[in-house]
């Protein structure tokens, strides 16, 4: 299992921050997922071994956190918030728009692997609602037209 040099240096440094190796697990899982695309059996086995845990212990943690996944998502994971503040300003309509445009539902992935869609809970953009996160990037104060534009831009970026 090969991770980037950046991952390795961050991982090594993080281990020095805690009295137990296991403590580095949650952030490490997210960084590993970002590189590998998903927390595959191979990634799980590798991290379990590095952190002196059983694979089951690692899986047990993965299943708890909503950002962690064992199945690959699209290149661009479109996360639409429909929680209260976003709902009041059109979050559900945005989600419908994304479903229609991408032709997929909640937790679905487009056939070309470019997009996946997720209805998510509050992402901390309440005062700039409705908001969407594509991977880690926030898009705020959205309208259907702006949403279309954003999806077009990612599509362009992803197919270049």
């Amino acid at each position: 299992m090969k991770f980037s040099d950046e991952f390795e240096s961050r991982f090594a440094e993080m281990l020095s921050h805690y009295p137990t190796r296991r403590s580095a697990l949650v952030p490490t899982l997210l960084y590993a997922q970002d590189e590998a695309g998903a927390l595959t059996d191979e990634v799980i086995a590798e991290l379990a071994q590095r952190l002196d845990l059983t694979e089951l212990e690692v899986r047990n943690v993965i299943s708890y956190y909503s950002m962690l996944t064992t199945k690959p998502r699209g290149k661009y994971n479109v996360q639409v918030c429909t929680n209260i503040a976003c709902m009041l300003r059109g979050g559900e309509e945005l989600l419908d728009r994304c479903k229609k445009r991408l032709g997929i539902g909640h937790k679905g992935t487009t056939q070309d692997g470019l997009f996946s869609l997720e209805e998510v809970e509050c992402i901390g953009a309440c005062s700039w609602a409705p908001a969407v996160q594509v991977n880690y990037d926030f898009h705020e104060n959205l309208t259907n037209a702006k949403m279309d534009q954003i999806l077009d831009e990612y599509k362009k970026k992803g197919t270049q």
């Binding site: 949650v26 956190y65 209260i84 880690y136």
Partner: protein
């Protein structure tokens, strides 16, 4: 990224460096950065604690507990290392304030955590930031690195002989982890399941050592208190509610945004003047005053001071500072359903009343909103919620129960209007879709 707003009534303490480029350590130093911690380094720890106590600073995460008091619970002598843990897992719906602090002024959180560490005799602090806030983790990691490079962190900080490490830690998506004991579990590399208290974290916390856990906004206020003095800070607010706080105005408003206002600022004024009132000529229907877990207030209940005690007196909570405004086109049943759907999703499943209660509430409200509700459901919803209250190890059960009870109590008529197969009166199409499949 998030747009900044301003209003003449704002009193800028925590937000005074917003938009000033203070993520850069030199700029932060120009703007009085790291002066407070140097002052604290020569103060006896008890003096720091007393200063914070006298400032009237209360926890900005939502519970509103006296920060100085919390610090004073940490034993002076401890065989195990003591820790400071900054809670930046901001995820209470309606709340988006810590985001701005991390984005614009990360060093102030580091400095606040350092002062907390000095006050309780700790040599290690962690700043936990939710996984979704990756760009803020990048900013924070850089800020910490810069502080180490200057000798502000690490061995012998500022030549004082005191060793102090501050580390970043990241989450991976979980509301429950914002609860202090679940936060510690998460930092220890586990599922975010709450711990049974007592013992409280101040005595037995991270890896069994005494631990102070403070919200990011709380810690961001600390350097200002140390520099400006407890009296100055206390006088900004109301009695027993010192200072200012970041209020996140959201929902049906003309000028939503995060505004820093004195504690005790009038809620009505906050909505109509600071937030610019309700758009499109509509009228106010209700206000959720402090994040989704706080009981809803009616328009006739909002002429109140926004401090912990006044909002409690009005039957709700100041909570995390997330003010969500609902206009007259909002269906309360749908709003209640969306609120409970969140808590159902986020319940860690550890305590049965919360796990089963939120699930049954979601099912019942879904059916109810779809027009298939029974008259007895209304009382059942209330009864279910009531039976979750106070019966769980962490406050997530209460957070789900309290708003639900208030919705039923204050909007019973609207629940009744959904009965007998009638379409939701607020859905234009006449067919009420459940909020979620």
């Amino acid at each position: 990224m998030a747009t900044l707003v301003s209003h003449p009534d704002e009193v800028r303490v925590i937000s005074k460096r917003f938009g000033q480029g203070a993520t850069d350590i030199d700029r932060y130093l120009q703007l009085d950065g790291y002066k407070a911690v140097q002052k604290a380094l020569v103060m006896p720890p008890d003096d720091i604690i007393n200063e914070v106590k006298n400032s009237g600073l209360r926890g900005r995460g939502g519970a509103g507990f006296s920060t100085g008091m919390k610090w004073s619970f940490v034993p002076k002598q401890s065989a195990k290392p003591k820790y400071v843990l900054c809670n930046g897992d901001e995820s209470e719906p309606g709340t988006c304030k810590d985001r701005l602090i991390f984005e614009h002024d990360p060093h102030t959180v580091i400095e606040g955590a350092m002062i907390a560490a000095l006050a309780v005799g700790s040599h290690t602090a962690y700043i936990y930031i939710r996984g979704e806030y990756r760009y803020l983790s990048v900013i924070m990691q850089k800020a910490i690195k810069d502080a180490y490079a200057r000798g502000f962190l690490g061995k012998n900080i500022f030549g004082s002989g005191y060793d102090l490490d501050v580390y970043w830690h990241g989450g991976a998506g979980a509301y429950e982890v914002g609860e202090e004991s679940a936060l510690m579990e998460s930092l220890e590399g586990k599922r975010g399941i709450p711990r049974i208290r007592p013992p409280f974290p101040a005595v037995v916390g991270l890896w069994g050592g005494p631990t102070v856990i403070n919200n990011a906004e709380t810690l961001a206020a600390v350097p200002h208190i140390v520099l400006g003095g407890a009296d100055w800070y206390a006088k900004l607010g109301t009695p027993k509610n010192g200072g200012t706080r970041l209020f996140c105005l959201a929902g049906h408003l003309n000028r939503p945004g995060v505004y820093e206002l004195p504690m005790g600022y009038n809620l009505k004024k906050m909505i109509y003047e600071v937030g610019g009132g309700i758009p499109n000529g509509r009228t106010l229907k209700a206000v959720v005053p402090g994040g989704s877990s706080t009981p809803v207030l009616l328009p006739e209940e909002i002429d109140i001071a926004m401090d912990f005690d006044s909002v409690a007196k009005a039957g709700s909570m100041l909570g995390s500072g997330g003010v969500v405004v609902l206009d007259d086109t909002t269906c309360i049943v749908k709003f209640a359903l969306r609120t409970i759907k969140f808590y159902q999703h986020e319940s860690c499943g550890w305590c049965i009343p919360c796990r089963e209660g939120t699930d049954w509430l979601k099912k019942t409200l879904t059916r109810f909103h779809a027009g298939a509700g029974l008259k007895k459901d209304i009382d059942n919803i209330y009864y279910l919620a009531e039976n979750m209250l106070g019966k769980t190890f962490c406050p997530l059960g209460d957070a789900a129960a309290m708003p639900t009870m208030a919705f039923v109590k204050k909007f019973r008529k609207e629940f009744e209007d959904h009965l007998d197969g009638k379409p939701c009166p607020f859905e234009k199409l006449g067919v009420a879709e459940p909020v979620l499949a």
